[in-house]
């Protein structure tokens, strides 16, 4: 059974020019112990989606439609108080700006212990501090540095401390929003390894968000490609990479330089993403798509299932398959 089921989620922000639809009609499901990665360019709605799942949208943000079923419960039906029981205990998030998420005036071990105790006060201090040591070992943080203050840590160490905090309550789901973007490759690699190991060891589900497709591919079983607030392709990592279907996915893949194979000319995607306050009808990629035809604008889009584990949201893909 799926741990998380998201149905037709539409999220937006009230802005001066009107209602900005940051995420529209997004559906997916995530099983226990699996990881799902969302990729797409800046502003496509990745962080918005993650924040909405945690019900941590800023005051001008609103979930307009849809359902979020987590662990058998409808999160959108919950009161704020009930949501507090779920947040951090059962689902935790590592934020895009995580480096600054530690409190500068408290020692790292005190902060992690407090996270444990807030949600499980009956544990007692001693047990909590023992658990902190266990967690630090898990995320590769030296026990001798636990009594340091955050400013004494390097970026990679801070990120490890934050992962330890996220794990403090043994959540079933972790949402990681660009957790390694500011880090050097060697540290990034070590942290991605930790994340993968922790996932296996505790059978945690992970939603991994990044604009860097190579990082997402490294940790995710399944991949969702987002464009202008919509999911446009979704499937098993291998299938999405080896036979990308959506013109945006193809374009995205050919705009990254690679280290292996022939050195190919990079093909940037021409133009810009559409205005999300007045999004165009039909396919949102229309203006930038090399294979677009007039019918893409006028016909309603439907998901096309290519295999049971790979689907695409493109009118022309459907036509070519004769459906």
């Amino acid at each position: 059974m799926a741990l998380l089921e998201v149905e037709d989620l539409t999220i937006g922000y009230q802005s001066q020019r009107g209602f900005l639809k940051a995420v529209e009609g997004v559906s997916f499901s995530l099983d226990k112990g699996r990881s799902l990665g969302f990729v797409g360019e800046s502003g496509c709605g990745k962080t918005t989606l993650g924040m909405a799942l945690m019900r941590l949208l800023p005051p001008n943000g609103r979930i307009r439609e849809g359902r979020i079923l987590f662990d058998g419960q409808d999160l959108l039906e919950k009161t704020d108080e009930e949501m507090r029981q779920v947040r951090w205990q059962k689902m935790a998030m590592i934020f895009q700006t995580a480096m600054n998420a530690l409190n500068p005036v408290h020692r790292v071990n005190d902060q992690i212990a407090e996270a444990i105790l807030t949600h499980n006060p009956s544990l007692g201090k001693q047990v909590a501090y023992k658990q902190v040591e266990g967690l630090s070992r898990l995320v590769g943080l030296s026990k001798h540095r636990l009594r340091d203050y955050p400013h004494q840590y390097s970026g990679g160490m801070k990120q490890r401390a934050i992962i330890a905090m996220a794990l403090a309550c043994q959540p079933k789901l972790i949402i990681a929003d660009e957790p390694t973007t500011a880090l050097d490759v060697i540290v990034q690699d070590q942290i991605l390894e930790e994340i993968k190991n922790i996932q296996k060891e505790f059978d945690i589900s992970i939603i991994f968000i990044s604009h860097d497709i190579s990082i997402v591919a490294d940790v995710s079983h399944d991949i969702g490609i987002m464009y202008a607030g919509q999911l446009v392709e979704y499937g098993a990592r291998e299938e999405v990479f080896e036979s990308p279907m959506h013109p945006y996915t193809k374009a995205l893949l050919s705009s990254y330089p690679t280290l292996t194979g022939e050195k190919a000319q990079l093909m940037p995607i021409p133009g810009e993403a559409p205005d999300l306050i007045h999004p165009p009808s039909g396919c949102r990629f229309f203006d930038r798509c090399a294979g677009a035809r007039a019918s893409c604008r006028t016909n309603p889009l439907v998901w096309l299932e290519i295999t049971p584990t790979h689907k695409v949201f493109c009118y022309q893909c459907g036509r070519q398959c004769g459906r």
Partner: protein, 339 residues
Amino acid sequence: MGNGKQTILELDRIVKRYRTKGFFFGAHGQDVIALNEVFIKILRGEIFGLVGESGSGKTTAGRLIVRLEQPDQGKIYLDGRDITGLKGKASKDYSRRVQMIFQDPYQSLNPLLSVFDTISEPLIIHKIGNAEAREDSVWQAMKSVGLSPPHDFAHRYPHQLSGGQRQRVAIAHAMVLKPEFVVADEPTSMLDASMSAQIFNILLEMRRRLKVTFLFITHSLAAARYLCDRIAVMYKGNLMEIGPAEEVLRNPKHPYTQALMDALPKFVHSGGVKRYETLLQAEREVSGYVGCPFFVRCKVARAPKCSREKPPLKKLDDSHSVACFYAEPGIKTRSGGKA
């Protein structure tokens, strides 16, 4: 370095130290050696890549080249002429010929200047052309970086531009003087893949059309491979490996370069099944040693030699040099992994 190409810019055993305030290190502070005897010759018309992790000294090298700072030791030559003591007209002339594009398009542009004024500013400072000729140059520069139609952008201010557009303005600003040498310091690290690809292609096009020489600073090995003819790998201010980009990245010889290759995200870059495994899991505990800068993390290291002596940069062949005692030409580096 073959091909009969001429050196345009030379860094000759450059040392740059910074004195940090005593914060954790005791009252006197401690020197950070940002560049340690760095020796690089850049050839006219090439794109030379400087790669390395955060703090390896890449930006410092760029800042020394555009004379925002002075080296503590060593000399920098442009066309064989020492630039250290340049004054007056010679100094101004240098600052026209050598330009820098900065990492952060959000900070490098003056928010109070329109796009047009930003790009024409260098022409005014260097008193080049009359108003009409300047306008022409600005339009041309804008077109060459894809800010077109130019009049759509000319009167906008930085806050009315996307990150990619801002970086293009910064490039146009650097290019309008038709410099011969441009330092591009991580010009795309704040941008999306597609926008980065656009900027990369703009730089390649400038090199092709205007024969500009670039020092391209990046921490992305894949970007370096795409753009650069040759690269130098830096670690804590030291030059570890230098050679043709394709050669260094396909056949890295320095244990540190090999560790960088091992750390690339696996799934996408898995074409290189080769694993070098040169990085120690836990750093060595050493204090005050004078040996190889990578010794603390190097699995290949052998005890007294690597901890006591700094390995000199030695040639493996005509174009490929490595600063490691145990990197041998021809000898296959460890290639564990699957058979």
